[in-house]
């Protein structure tokens, strides 16, 4: 029955194309609208920008946009760097030594992955007010690091366990200290999982809204996601300006995704496919 098989193939292909269009359409509208003038957009919201203009981008950039962007960049890079550092130390502690209570401790850490951040909000905010750390980056970084650590430690511990014992023992016989084993053997072997983890965590912090909203109330400390949310109501009538802002905010992610898709996929799938 080659005819029915060809037909089935066509139907399947059509379903996939439809799904892809649905997935891309909103993103297409965002990017195309960013290059239109308000009149163009109202006349033809889904067509290509036939007379592309950068006015939307100009308005967005003249707003507080650059500040928000810089704030997001600082927060993201510093909290992810701190997370990777602490998580790889702890991961090595868990993977290298067998000590009493290790598996319980790891189990508790893993289960913390599902605690919704909103649950921690009230106590942390009160704490922040008491020591005067509201609208400071250090408190937000501390919270972000804490929230990212459980998954990061879990992933790295699993990876470190695959490093052959013999390699470590040989180095110790050669007189290497614990620290130099970690620096010279473990870390260089772990470039791939560290990179994966960096990508997943960067994505998470960059996209985070709730904590940034609550803890960074000062205008000069706002992050991109918080700023954009307010952007919407401020430019409610000027869709191209809103869309320009969104496009700029998404740009780093899109660029990352275009070049490093496999890191995204690997990182987001690892936790699941490995089980537990």
């Amino acid at each position: 029955m080659p005819v029915s098989r060809t037909l089935a193939r066509l139907v399947k292909q059509a379903v996939l194309v439809a799904v892809t269009c649905l997935a891309l359409f909103p993103i297409y509208v965002m990017i195309s609208a960013a290059f239109k003038s308000q009149d163009d957009f109202l006349r033809d919201p889904w067509g290509l920008p036939l007379e592309p203009t950068l006015n939307g981008f100009r308005t967005a950039l003249n707003d507080q946009f650059p500040t928000w962007f810089a704030n997001s960049a600082v927060l993201t890079t510093s909290s992810v760097a701190a997370t990777l550092m602490l998580a790889s130390l702890a991961g090595w502690g868990f993977a290298r030594w067998d000590f009493r209570g290790r598996d319980t401790l790891l189990g508790v850490l893993v289960s913390l992955m599902v605690v919704p951040p909103v649950v921690l909000l009230v106590p942390l905010f009160v704490f922040g007010v008491e020591i005067g750390w509201i609208s400071t980056f250090r408190l937000v970084i501390l919270i972000y690091v804490g929230l990212m650590l459980p998954f990061s430690i879990y992933l790295l511990t699993n990876f470190f366990r695959t490093i052959p014992r013999s390699l470590i023992e040989a180095a110790i016989v050669d007189g290497a200290s614990s620290w130099s084993v970690f620096r010279r053997i473990v870390l260089p072997l772990s470039a791939a999982p560290l990179l994966t983890l960096a990508v997943v965590n960067l994505l998470w912090v960059w996209n985070e809204l709730l904590i940034a909203l609550v803890f960074l109330q000062d205008d000069s400390k706002r992050t991109l996601m918080v700023g954009l949310t307010g952007f919407q109501s401020r430019y409610n009538l000027d869709v191209p300006v809103i869309m320009s802002g969104l496009t700029l905010a998404t740009l780093p992610i899109l660029a990352f995704y275009l070049f490093g898709q496999r890191f995204f996929v690997r990182g987001l799938v690892t936790g699941a496919v490995k089980g537990e």
Partner: protein, 305 residues
Amino acid sequence: MNAADEAVVTGRPTRRRLRLGRAEPLIWIAPALAVVLFVFGYSMVELVRRSLEYQGEWTGLDNFRITVEDPVFQIALGHNARLLLAVPVLVLLSLLISVLLFEGLRGWRFHRWAVFLPYVLPIPVVGVIFGQLLQLNGVLNRALRAVGLDALALDWLGQPRWALWTLTAVIVWKELGFGVILFLARLLAVPAEIFEAARTDGARFFQLHRRITVPQLAGVIAFYVVVESITMVSWVFNYVYVMTNGQGGPADSTQVTELYIYQNAFQFGSPEIAAAAATILFCTTLVLIALFFRVQRRVGLGAGE
């Protein structure tokens, strides 16, 4: 053999090292542990304490009673429960799409790329885009009117009857890619012979996938169901906040537990109610996790390699 003997035998001087013994792993773990203990441990203890007090005075379970009896809280919980309806939809759609991608149709890599893209976009960005698309005179309704379907051009986010369903659809749009990628990764790990054997037995599309694919995927499906259930119950704040301007409106029609906590804590000045609601929310996620571990034990190690 002590250090001096060792030096004699190996002919190499051993550096005298600090003997950390059994405490050594703790030193590696301590910095991370301190941060985790502060962010989670301290907060949880404080949360429970606050939920049992009013302005510093012990009030037992009064806050919980007030919260549970608050009609807005009940509405919020009900909405979270309704959002759970999206989970089976997500599973079915992810299954369908991952199977189609697995068949290796033309351009499947591109399709995979496109389907996963929404999942990596920031929720605030997604929320604002859809907020614009779904306005009464937005892109979607103009398209509907252009093809003569005026009756379908609803005020998607402006009418209490439809707002939550619209929100659900947006969440499905965003979360779908995760399921697809997850299932596809698992499918690609299934030995090809299993599919070959079934095919030579003459199994057709639906038969094949019902008999082979779904059982093979049982573990990942269970995982995805739990992750998405937790999302629907406790991680939808961003969608609601952005798409309803932080109100959960119109008229509480998109109110959810997280927003209820946020509003009580930071807008209505009743942190004790927020603490009680947060404790309830936390216990709900614990129940979901417990369920997950039971399901996983029954299904066996389907998710592992």
